[in-house]
């Protein structure tokens, strides 16, 4: 269970004061397995919000409770365990190692902990998203869209209870968005996992259980 209590990032405090939000400065609870869509225009803290949920930022007031544990209270090794076992992520800025191949980037995440799926499944996912042909290319020379699909696969090869996604389809065409959304939905169902996806506009890519405005 994810519980947000009066969350307010320090750098955005002034900018967000006086604005209405169903997340900032509110108490929000996400039950396991919920599919949550959060929409907001640029500059309202979507990436900040995702980074807070993933434990990357600590400059905020309020608390994020993951299964009743304050994320900020976890030591680095415990936080790493959460990132390996409980929460997976698709970053807006991708965060791939440019000189590793696409396959190596995915493989690294797959074997960082006890592998959840085998190497053949990675290939199958790559085929499903149309990037099987570039698996052995260094990430640096792939297009942004290819890299984004690689990041989606990278997030799906580990065990997780929550998948958090920061504008995961920003550089994909509608056809590839549908394929990626189908793969994400399939993997989340397989794990009975919830997800939180942020985007600029509302969409109906998934049967959301929760729609919020940041």
């Amino acid at each position: 269970m994810l519980t947000l209590n009066n969350l307010m990032p320090d750098p955005l405090r002034e900018r967000l004061s006086g604005k209405t939000s169903s997340v900032w400065n509110c108490t929000v609870q996400f039950e396991p397995g919920e599919w949550v869509n959060i929409t907001a225009p640029s500059g309202t803290g979507k990436t900040t919000f995702i980074h807070i949920l993933y434990g990357l930022r600590k400059d905020y007031s309020g608390t994020v409770l993951f299964n009743q544990t304050d994320l900020r209270s976890l030591d680095p090794d415990a936080l790493a365990t959460v990132r390996q076992q409980k929460i997976s992520i698709i970053f807006q800025d991708l965060k791939l190692f440019p000189h590793l191949t696409v396959r190596e980037n995915i493989e690294l995440k797959r074997i960082l902990q006890e592998p959840y799926c085998d190497a053949e499944q990675v290939t199958a996912m790559a085929e499903q998203l149309g990037i099987a042909g570039i698996l052995n290319q260094p990430a640096a020379i792939c297009s942004y869209g290819e890299q984004q699909r690689a990041c989606i696969i990278r997030a799906l090869v580990q065990p997780f209870e929550w998948l958090i996604m920061d504008e995961p389809f920003s550089h994909l065409d509608i056809d590839n968005i549908k394929k990626a959304a189908a793969l994400i939905a399939e993997e989340c169902k397989r794990r009975r996992a919830g997800f939180i996806v942020t985007d600029l506009d509302e969409n109906n890519l998934f049967p959301y259980t929760h729609k919020l405005h940041l």
Partner: protein, 396 residues
């Protein structure tokens, strides 16, 4: 190498330079070798001093008296405070008093073939300080003879000087032990005569020794002087070559057989060699550890972005620390093993060389040196781990 480790190896490259790395490893090797050598030299010296093969049987017992100078003439008795002070020294294991006879005595041959007569004085010392074994070192009034121990040098003097000049037969120790002579003790109450027999020869104490019981009886019944403190005492010491012992004796105007403390000057040389080797080894270890630590820091700093991203993606600092330790520590462990093996070879050849010089030291490296190698390994492991964790764990 695990698949994860080989991926991490691609990300965390050795960008701090191979020359710097080689210099760091070589510096550490020399430092470790010097430190281990210091330990082994010390062990070898102790073995030379204390082992059964090398120990001089007289070396652990020293007879001590005041240095005879114009000022100390007639005042050679050792005061109680001096005796207590000697007893309290760390290098003294036990102290025995050489009790002087306070009565006049003479010995006279019973044999016409080998006539002699001489005035004599006796000393006694507790049995534990005597270096003649297999004898009954006691006396009672009903005993058929008084056992006497004489210094070995007396017999040598007789056999190789006196007998030759006086045209007398030379005597083996066994013949001397068969000679029976008369001991006459003189006192205010008259005289008493006993049979005397030489039961052994001492390398340790240059006195005519009789059992304490005889000495006490004589002093009780025939003493012509008041009880006075002994002028000489015998100490048992772990290491007669201990410079602290010789310094103490010199400082307090005491003296002993210089031959027995001859190890003291060797000891000083060994101590100096050990100190030079140990200090230079320790300094080199310090600098080499600093260079090595710097090398680790540079490697981590040059891969800071990759490490940060790995942690962001979920790699635990513990995982990365283990990977870095597996990368940096094994060369150190090898370096210690090679230094240890080199020292082992050196020890083997040294032992063989010294064997030709009739000096026995073990051909195998000591457990203390092995212990020191393990300790150094732990120290380097700790230094590596601390450096890595300082740079890997955020905020530490």
């Amino acid at each position: 190498m695990t698949p994860l480790a080989s991926l991490l190896k691609k990300l965390i490259r050795n960008s701090a330079g191979h020359i710097r790395y080689t210099v760091a490893i070589m510096g550490l090797s020399i430092a470790v070798f010097l430190l281990l050598a210091a330990v082994q030299i010390q062990v070898n010296y102790n073995e030379l001093l204390h082992s059964r093969h090398n120990r001089d049987s007289i070396a652990n017992f020293l007879v001590i008296n005041k240095q005879l100078t114009d000022a100390s003439l007639g005042k050679t008795a050792l005061e109680d405070s001096v005796i207590q002070d000697i007893r309290a020294q760390s290098f003294v294991q036990s102290v025995g008093m050489l009790t002087p006879g306070r009565f006049r005595a003479s010995i006279q041959s019973k044999s016409d073939r080998f006539p002699f007569y001489t005035d004599i004085s006796f000393e006694s010392v507790p049995g534990a300080f005597i270096d003649v074994s297999g004898i009954e070192w006691t006396w009672k009034e009903t005993a058929s003879y008084v056992p006497v121990i004489i210094p070995n040098t007396f017999l040598d003097m007789y056999n190789f000087q006196f007998s030759l000049s006086q045209n007398l037969p030379q005597l083996t120790p066994d013949i001397v032990k068969m000679l029976l002579f008369t001991i006459t003790v003189y006192g205010p109450k008259g005289t008493a005569t006993f049979n005397g027999k030489i039961v052994g020869f001492s390398d340790r104490i240059s006195s005519m020794l009789v059992p304490t019981e005889f000495m006490d009886w004589g002093n009780r019944n025939f003493a012509t002087e008041q009880i006075k403190n002994p002028s000489r005492l015998i100490i048992r010491t772990e290491d007669p070559g201990n410079p602290a012992l010789t310094d103490y004796l010199r400082k307090h105007g005491l003296t002993t057989d210089a031959e027995k403390t001859r190890f003291s000057k060797y000891r000083k040389i060994v101590d100096t060699v050990v100190a030079i080797s140990g200090i230079s080894g320790a300094l080199m270890l310090l600098f080499a550890l600093l260079i090595f630590t710097l090398f680790i820091q540079l490697t981590i700093a040059s891969c800071k972005e990759e490490i940060n991203l790995l942690i962001t993606l979920g790699a635990s600092p513990g995982q990365l620390s283990r990977f870095l330790m597996n990368r940096f520590f094994p060369p150190n462990a090898w370096m210690i093993t090679i230094s240890f093996a080199a020292l082992g070879l050196l020890q083997f050849f040294l032992s063989r060389y010294l064997q030709q010089q009739q000096v026995a030291i073990s051909g195998i490296i000591s457990v203390y040196t092995l212990g020191a190698a393990i300790l150094l390994g732990l120290l380097i492991w700790w230094a590596n781990r601390k450096t890595i964790r300082n740079y890997i764990y955020p905020g530490s």
